[in-house]
Amino acid sequence: MGSIWAVARHTFAQCLRMKIAVAFIILLAVVLGTMPFVMKGDGTLAGQIRTFLSYGTSITSVLLTLVTIFVACGVVSFDVRDKQVFTVATKPIARWQYILGRWAGLVMLDALLLAVAGSAIYGFAQYLRRGPETSAIDRRAVESEVFAARNQVRPDEPDIQDELQRRIARFVDQNRYQDAVESYKVKTGGDEEAARKLLEEEIQKEILQARQSAAPVDPNDPYRNVNDPRGQIVWRFSGVRLEAGEVTGAGRIAELFPGVLQARVEADPHLISNLILRGPVQVNGLSAAVVRMEMDYFDVQFFAQDLRRQELTGLTEGQEVRIVIEPTIQITYKPSAGSDVTDGMLRSRWIVEDANSQLLYKEDRTDPVRIASTITVPARAVARDGRMVLRYVNFSPASVTILNRDISVLYRVGGFEMNFVRGLMLILLQLAFIAGVGVLAGSFLSFPVACMVCFSILPFSVARAFLAEAVRPPVDPARDTDAFVIMGRYIFYGMKVIMPDLERTSPADQLVGGRHISWLFLGETAFWTVCVSTAAVLGLACLIFHRRELARVQV
């Protein structure tokens, strides 16, 4: 262990002295420093911060990947080329210890550079966070959707077996079933069983598609859809576990409107950003609903039953009050329209139901087509067992489809800071693997060849989904005749065993979407990326380096 540590320390010092770190930091400072002023995203503050986080983490990741490849390929191959390995290999250090030490030193360097880059990104993001928001909703998006760690829950798979059986029964009743099976037999080469299966799959697809669409029942009176299930889409969610507590803060009663049981409360914009229009809030223990939200104040409507317990007159203008805001959840979705809508906007009503208590939360909205939108909902709409029902009512004159993969419920489970650290750790795990590949290549190839090899095999990790699609065998095995495609497929399958999926474990999307990166996911990624893939790569490097001659015969 002492030898590995000695080489690791040495490698770390070597990289720092080679001015790699300085070059990286200068480059990063220039890029990150100019980015906030150049990139404005969609014009909102949340959009600007998201863009910055997205590009910041991606650029850091790319730059560090390049640095890691070049350095990792160089540390071993240059040692052999410049013969410094003579004095090291003749010391009591096994060659595998040398390889591991080199790798560990590179990981240390990556950790340092990542910490510097992470600090810079975090610092700039905090700087942007203080910038001017465009609206209270923008501020809320910044606080609850960007600077947050949220778990994402997809809708439950709908149970369509009953409907499937009903449809088949109707087909049979109408004497169309056997005709349909016969037509599918053409596709299955006469196999009747396969044809039935194919038909069932088609019907299932149709049912699912129908369930993800809401028709315009009456274009002249779209509000009739409220009562017509054909104009609605219903999702059921389970496993929404709310752990984050309430948000509390202080405010000041600016104005009282006793006649309408309302009050105007001034508070910090960050606190106000946690409120939801028509959502619940407590002012000095009195329950109320938010009826108006501005940047630095909000109006609340008190409930009559609360007033019976405590007089509203207990509050006075100018009084400091304690504000308690209940936790919220977000629903993100991306709707698409079946036909053109005149202004590109879709009108809808969203109804959230507690599956047990039938408590309702309603919100009428106008959202752009094919762009992700977010609704913030009081978390109390979710039942204690973590279930909730979500209903979409289409008020547009076009049919609207929201696919299951385009809708999710997000709920806060932690703060941004730790999530960001976990995100950086994910990048570090990726870099650890890349460092391993670089050391492997450098252990038997010259520097330029080793770099070329690394850049050639890296796509297997970063574009895995694309490659999987490219080499996917055709449905009809008879058409699978291209030798190059078949060869490529088997190479891909082989590489898949060793190469980790760096695309899946990239944290950029999670950080930008304010999505929680769990310790479990981090641990799982660490296991597969480091304990399996990197260990395999380093094992191979150790074996090759152990068996190679470090000197050349010169006569």
Partner: protein, 406 residues
């Protein structure tokens, strides 16, 4: 030399064939080499450029793998990690990390030997003193001159106080001071029971320090044996005396002619250029003239001298106060040395009668004292002694420097 089980290095039919990219045999770098190096031996590998010296060393160190044959190092394979803790290696060039300073360089190598921090620091300090780089210890090695890099390379080879020191062209790039210290060091280490294996084509260096040599040519062993035996010229006798006037010389000639022996050459010994150089530098250093390079190194590091306490003192005395005429006796402090060269002890005994005459002639110079193997300053010889006469008598003026005992 008879084969024994306690040999430090042993090669059996060692062969290394260099193949090209297509695995075709291109050149045989080492062929059927049988070597056996015993403990406490200073062994030299000699040969012209490309004769396979460095290849042999790299095979022994496990940096190259033999095509055929076997190598045993301390009874184990060369790739055995445990063996390496007993080895110090100085490559033909000091392949050091240019971004580290001398201190960091030694610290890194010390760590590879798992040395405790305190011990490491102690040794680094002593080694830097020894190689004369203390004043530039915090300068990057990349900025060092070649000779300074050799010195730090030597220091790294000694950081573990190795039992076997392997030196590839050790004095290449070194100034005469460094070369002299180097030779002193080898002698000191050998005296402590260390084994040294060195390769060189600087024959004088090898001759000064080696007990046995192997001469290679074309990767094959051409000669192997004790230096004394290989160099002995049994047909000649050399006598060194104080300066003789022409009358005495004539008497010597007539005595020898009376015995039927011819005097082949009579000459006064000259200072070696090395000796002159050492003297000039020593004087400059005494005057504290500024230099940006390496200083003359100090004495051999304490841990390399073997020791602490009583033993150390004894060696110290031997090193600093030994009589002149030792092998490599013109140590760093001995710049004035050089004239008190002993007669070659390996010269065969001449016929009885001339021997008696010669004994009479040389009696004042007490040539019978065999100089100890040491690195300290030699004793000041009588300035008026004309050694050249004896050298000429023995026809061996060019070998006027002392020989070490085996």
């Amino acid at each position: 030399m008879p084969q024994t089980d306690d040999s430090i290095v042993r090669t059996m039919k060692l062969t290394k064939v260099f193949r090209d990219f297509w695995l075709r045999e291109k050149v045989t770098a080492v062929a059927d080499l049988d070597l056996e190096i015993q403990p406490r031996e200073v062994f030299g590998l000699l040969g012209p450029n490309g004769s396979g010296k460095s290849t042999t060393l790299k095979l022994i160190l496990g940096l190259l793998f033999p095509t055929r044959g076997r190598i045993s190092l301390f009874g184990k394979r060369p790739t055995d990690v445990r063996v390496k803790s007993r080895i110090g290696f100085l490559p033909e060039e000091s392949y050091l990390y240019p971004f580290l300073d001398a201190h960091e360089t030694l610290d890194f190598y010390g760590r590879l030997f798992h040395q405790a921090r305190q011990e490491r620091r102690r040794r680094i300090g002593m080694l830097l003193d020894m190689v004369g780089l203390s004043s530039v210890a915090y300068r990057r090695v990349g900025e060092y001159s070649k000779g300074m890099q050799r010195r730090i390379g030597l220091a790294q080879a000694l950081i573990n106080d190795p039992d076997l020191l392997i030196l590839d062209e050790p004095t290449s790039g070194m100034d005469p001071i460094g070369t002299r210290q180097f030779k002193d060091l080898i002698i000191t280490l050998a005296r402590r029971g260390k084994t040294v294996l060195l390769s060189s084509h600087l024959l004088a260096d090898v001759e000064d320090v080696c007990d046995r040599v192997c001469i290679l040519y074309g990767g094959r062993q051409r000669a192997l044996g004790r230096v004394d035996e290989l160099l002995a010229r049994s047909g000649l006798t050399q006598i060194t005396t104080e300066a003789l006037d022409s009358r005495t010389l004539q008497e010597v000639r007539s005595v020898l002619q009376h015995s039927g022996k011819d005097v082949l050459e009579v000459a006064s010994p000259r200072d070696k250029l090395e000796t002159l150089f050492l003297r000039i530098v020593s004087e400059a250093q005494q005057q504290h003239l500024a230099t940006g390079g390496a200083m003359a190194g100090g004495q051999v590091a304490e841990f390399l001298r073997g020791g602490e306490g009583e033993g150390e003192r004894v060696i110290e005395e031997l090193v600093s106060a030994g009589p002149g005429g030792a092998k490599a006796g013109e140590g760093a402090a001995g710049a004035e040395a050089g004239q008190a060269q002993a007669a070659p002890e390996a010269a065969p005994a001449p016929a009885e009668e001339p021997a008696e005459v010669l004994r009479e002639l040389v009696a004042p110079a007490q040539p019978g004292q065999e100089p100890p193997r040491q690195a300290g300053p030699p004793a000041q010889p009588p300035q008026q002694a004309d050694q050249s006469v004896i050298d000429e008598l023995m026809g061996n003026a060019d070998r006027s420097k002392p020989r070490k005992e085996s």
